[in-house]
Each structure stands twice: as C-alpha cells, then as structure tokens.
C-alpha cells in the first residue's frame, strides 16, 4: 500500500523523488522513450550515481561529474550572449551541442540566458543585459540599488506580497509602474464596497500594464517551450536535467535586490530588529518558492545561490545572528518537503563550515568555489555532498594537464568514500573548451571507485 505524500517522512519523500527521476515521463505522461538502450542506461546510471553521492550511505560506481556554467555553453557554441538571449532556437541548439560535446553526467538546463524580449516588454530595470547597458558579448549584470527603502521594513513585514506588487515590482519593471495604484486584495470582503477595489483596474495606465503583462507572459511561454523542449530531448539521449527550481537565503533576498549590499549591511547596525523580523517574515515564502517549483517541474533539486554569507562578508557573529538561522530554516523546510537543497557557496565558505555540520546527513548538495574543499571534506564530509571546485581561472588559463592534476587531487582526497561530485566551482562565461573537456573526461576515466 502506497503512503500518501503528506504521511511520508523526509527520507521517504527523498527516496520517492529519486524514484520519480529514475522513471522519467514525456510531456504526455507516458514513460519517456529513450533514443537507444545505451542512452537509457546512461540516464539511469547518472541519477543513481547522483543519489548515492548525496545520500552518503555508499560509494557511487564512479565520481559523478558535471558542469554548471553560466554563459559558457553559448559562447562555446559560437554565439554572442545577445543572440543567446533573443534567439531561443539558437540558444537551445547551442546548449544541446554543449551537452553532447562534453557529456556531463547531468546538466542544469538552458534557462540561463533567459528571454531577452521578455525583459524588454516589461522594461526590466534591475539588470543591464547585452544590448541594454552592456555590450552584446557581455553577460547580464545586476544594477544594485535600494529598490526597497530603509523605512519600508514594516510594509514588507506586514504583507510581503502587497509590498512586492505595489512597491518593489513597480520599481524594477518600468511597465509595471502603474501597479503602485492597485488596491490590496485583502480588502475584497463583501457586497458593499466590493467594486471599489476594482476601480483601479479601469484606469488606462493600469490597463496598459496588464497589456504588457499578457504580452510578456506569451513571450515567457514561448521561451519556456524552447528551453523545456531541449531538456526533453537531452533526456532521451541520456542526459538528465535534475534542477527543479530555485530559492534564496532570506538574507540574500533582502540584501541582493531589495535593500542592496550597502543597505542591508548598514541595516544590521541601524535597524537590526526590523531586519531580523523581515528575515523571519519571508522565510516561509522562500521555502514555498522552492517547494512549489519542485512540484511544478517534478524535480527535487532546488538551487540556492548564496552571496552575502561568504567569508569576509559577515563576521562570525553577524553570520550567526542574521544569515544562518533563516537560511537553515529554508534548507530544513525544503528537506521536510522532499526536496534536495543545492546551495552554491559563492566565494569562500571556510569559516562557515562549522555551521553546516548542523544539517541532517545525506540531504543536501553544496557547490563550493574558493573554499578549501579538502579541508571541507574533513569537517562536513559526513554531513553533505560536496560539489566543485575547479576554479574559473584554471578553466580559462591553465593547460588540460594542470586541470587533470587538480582533478586527480580532488578524486584522491575529497572523493574518498563518496559524497563528492566533480564540477566547476563558480559560474563562468568563458573557458578553454579543452580544459572543460579534461575535467569531465579525466574524472570519468580516473574516478572509478574501486
């Protein structure tokens, strides 16, 4: 008798999620038709290898290897980043070439560049992107600012959705500026007065915003079909995408795009209580963001790019007070819901490893960049699966032999006993293809566990 999802333990949910990954379906809900028995075997082996590495109970047949780049697949395929953002067919064709040429065990999809035209329709102001503030060859880059003002904490804490719709989104999307006129939905209560709440929707600027929204939605869908299509095709060829969605550490949510780096750093001194209250207020929202995405995509890995908790960015005390408590809650909430949190500790995380030891064993995957991962293995090797950390500089500037030497060192040390996935440490737009190839091929050859 099968248990209901709600009755399952976190262990059982994780197991069920892996079983789902192991028996993939096509968009019609039927068993996925692989293009060859070999493709099917590769697919199953990749998922099994990943599962064993994450659960930390056994050693996988060999060290799993993957590539989690930023814009490299597209520069590699010979297009500039503007083309990757505006020509969806070329974007996914380039991504397919990347996966088939390098053959990583798993991949993370072609969603990186995103739909250029969509950003234009909504007049997205939070980023500069190729042709809009940076050269066609540059990747998109965040335009940091205080999109949330210091005195707006109470608004965010009281009703985050209302705050986002009426304050934050109108500031970061030019086309949604009229949303600042919208009434709270929670005022729609009974017959008397119900129509008052709908008056703003009759105003021409608001109607214009909704027109842009419909157009943007259609564009996003068009892009999603292309990106989803290549995922499906690559799966039939034996290359699974396991990424279910993304969420963030609450401190980064507020610090990256709401208050900005400087804003949140100063808030720790000037209004610490408000900041702590806001972090708690958005924690369940960050958990649900991940759980919802996993449910929608049917994939359990929830990516969490971690920014402002890196070594040097906060003191131990600040990390312990402001960053870690709500990040930990998000991670535990995702695990409870059957997801596999996949945080990327950008920068160094050497001083934070002692905190990570508190996490439940065999439930998370951590991408490390400039962290000493040989040391990390000793501290958190029994807690979490380590992912990384071939440096960007090495992929760009070294020789294939140097890359192999580095990978050998990782396999001999960090991969001992399992719990390790070979990959790049940070997101990269450029690299010598032969170096990326060396990382993958050498790991497949040398990384067979005895």
């Amino acid at each position: 008798m099968e248990k209901k999802w709600e009755e399952m333990s976190a262990d059982e949910k994780q197991e069920a999620q892996f079983q789902k990954l192991l028996s993939p379906k096509d968009p019609g809900g039927n068993d996925l038709k692989f293009q060859s028995p070999e493709a099917k075997a590769n697919y199953q082996a990749a998922i099994t290898r990943l599962k064993v590495a994450i659960q930390l109970k056994k050693t996988p047949d060999r060290v799993p290897v993957t590539i989690f780049p930023s814009m490299f697949p597209f520069t590699y395929a010979g297009m500039n980043l503007q083309e990757a953002m505006y020509d969806y067919d070329r974007c996914v064709a380039g991504f397919k070439k990347f996966v088939l040429d390098f053959k990583p065990d798993i991949h993370f999809g072609a969603a990186g560049p995103g739909p250029g035209k969509f950003y234009e329709i909504l007049n997205y102001k939070l980023y500069a992107w190729p042709g809009h503030g940076v050269a066609p060859t540059s990747s998109y880059q965040c335009l940091e600012g205080e999109y949330m003002k210091a005195e707006e904490y109470d608004l965010l804490i009281t009703d985050p959705s209302f705050y986002f719709r009426n304050f934050y989104l109108p500031r970061v999307f030019g086309a949604l500026e009229p949303w600042s006129m919208l009434p709270p939905l929670t005022g729609i209560l009974e017959m008397y007065g119900v129509a008052f709440s709908f008056i703003p929707f009759g105003l021409p600027p608001v109607q214009g915003a909704y027109k842009a929204l419909l157009e943007a939605g259609a564009e996003a869908l068009k892009w999603a079909m292309a990106v989803g299509g290549v995922d499906g095709e690559l799966a039939t060829l034996g290359f699974p995408n396991v990424l279910g969605g993304f969420t963030k550490a609450p401190f980064d949510t507020i610090g990256d795009t709401l208050r900005g780096t400087k804003g949140i750093m100063v808030d720790m001194y000037r209004r610490p209580d408000k900041l702590l209250e806001a972090l708690e207020a958005i924690t369940p929202i960050m958990i649900n963001l991940g759980l919802g995405a996993a449910q929608q995509t049917g994939k359990p890995f929830i990516f969490m790019p971690l920014h402002k908790g890196a070594d040097g960015f906060l003191s131990d005390e600040q990390f312990k007070t402001f960053y870690w408590p709500t990040l930990k809650k998000v991670i535990l909430g995702l695990i409870e819901g059957g997801c596999i949190p996949f945080p990327a500790a950008e920068g160094g995380y050497n001083t934070r490893l002692k905190f990570l030891k508190d996490l439940p064993k065999g439930k998370t995957l951590w991408m490390f960049d400039q962290t000493d991962i040989v040391k990390a293995k000793g501290i958190v090797g029994n807690t979490l699966c380590i992912f990384g950390n071939v440096p960007s500089a090495m992929l760009n500037l070294s020789t294939p032999q140097e890359v192999k030497d580095y990978c050998k060192k990782l396999i001999d040390t960090v991969a001992k006993g399992g719990g390790f996935i070979m990959a790049n440490g940070a997101f990269f737009d450029e690299a010598k293809p032969e170096n990326v190839k060396a990382m993958v091929d050498f790991t497949k050859e040398y990384g067979m566990h005895k």
């Binding site: 880059q141 100063v266 720790m268 906060l314 500089a393 090495m394 500037l397």
Partner: protein, 209 residues
Amino acid sequence: MAKDLVKTLADLKEKEALKIVEDRLSAGEDPLKILDDAKRALEIVGKRFSDCEYFIPDLVYAGEILKAITERVKPKIAKGAEVKRIGKVVIGTVAGDIHDIGKDIVVFMLDVNGFEVFDLGIDVPAQKFVDKIKETNSKVVGLSGFLTLAFDSMKETVEAIKKAGLRDKVKIMIGGGQIDDQVKGFAGADAYGKDAMAAVTLAKGWIGG
C-alpha cells in the same frame, strides 16, 4: 571634555561619534582637526579589517558614519585648506564588467588612507585608463573585475598601458571575485590583492607613506 572621537568612531558608535563632532564644532574647534581624528579612526578600522576583527559590513558602516561626519564638518572648512595626499591611484572596473561594490570599497579605503583616487567607474575602456594615467601622472593603477570576461579586459588594459609607453611608470594591481595570482600572471599585472586593505598595503608599498 567630550569623549574620544577616534575610539568612538573606530568602535562604530554612530550616534556618539556624531554627537562628539557636533559638540566640537560648536565649541569652535578647527574642523580639519576633527577630520584628522576621523582619518585616524578609519586607519584603526582598516587595521581591524586586516586582523579579521572587522569584516566588510564594518567597513561599509564606517564609511557611512564618515560620510555623515564629513557632511557636518565640510561647510566649516576654510577655502584653500586641503588635506595632504600621499599619492595618486587610478582605478576602475574593466571593460565589459559593471560590478562596482568591491571596487567602491577599495576606493574608499584608499581614500581614507591618504591617497588621491581617480575612480573611472565601471565598464572602463583601456584607453580611458591610459588617458587618466597620463593626465594625473598616477603611479598606481587598480583594475577591478568580477566576471571571467574581465580576465581578457585586464590583459588588454595592461597591454594598452604598455603600448602607450607607460608600463614602467606605473604599478598595476588587480582584484575581484574570480581573480587570483594566475590571472595576475595572465594579465601581466604586478600584483593581485585579495581585499581592500591588500590594495592599501600594495599602494603604500609602491608609493611609500
């Protein structure tokens, strides 16, 4: 006598520090003396950062307090009175890259440590660095970058400086998220600095002071 501004500011006590500044101003004290104390306090902040006692938020907050102090003190400074500078530094985020948080912290720490900093901003073409070096006669150049594409931009900038015949006249330091000693070698720079205080140490080592 009011409490010690140097200690209060170095300990990042914003309200107390501003109160001391206002008291001293209304007592008719030389505003340059107040700025001098503030500068000494920021040197302590920088040292605490180097000693891993302070972290980036402490630098940022110290900068905010200093800004508030300067706003109060500046209007009272007599025209012509100037703070002595120990040397000039040209700095910017290289072409194609628009990240500025790290660079801004470096600019701030160089500034409070006595350098005259010419901040060219973000996405700076190589030629603009060359022009500014010529114009200011700066001895130190700082190149910042966060993306992997910055590796090439840094190399191109160093080459442009070389082509202009200025390579022997300047020392070039680089820094940023994915930058390391290997990138330094690739770009042909003189040094890689891990953080803002490393930049100060490098610049002081090259210029003296």
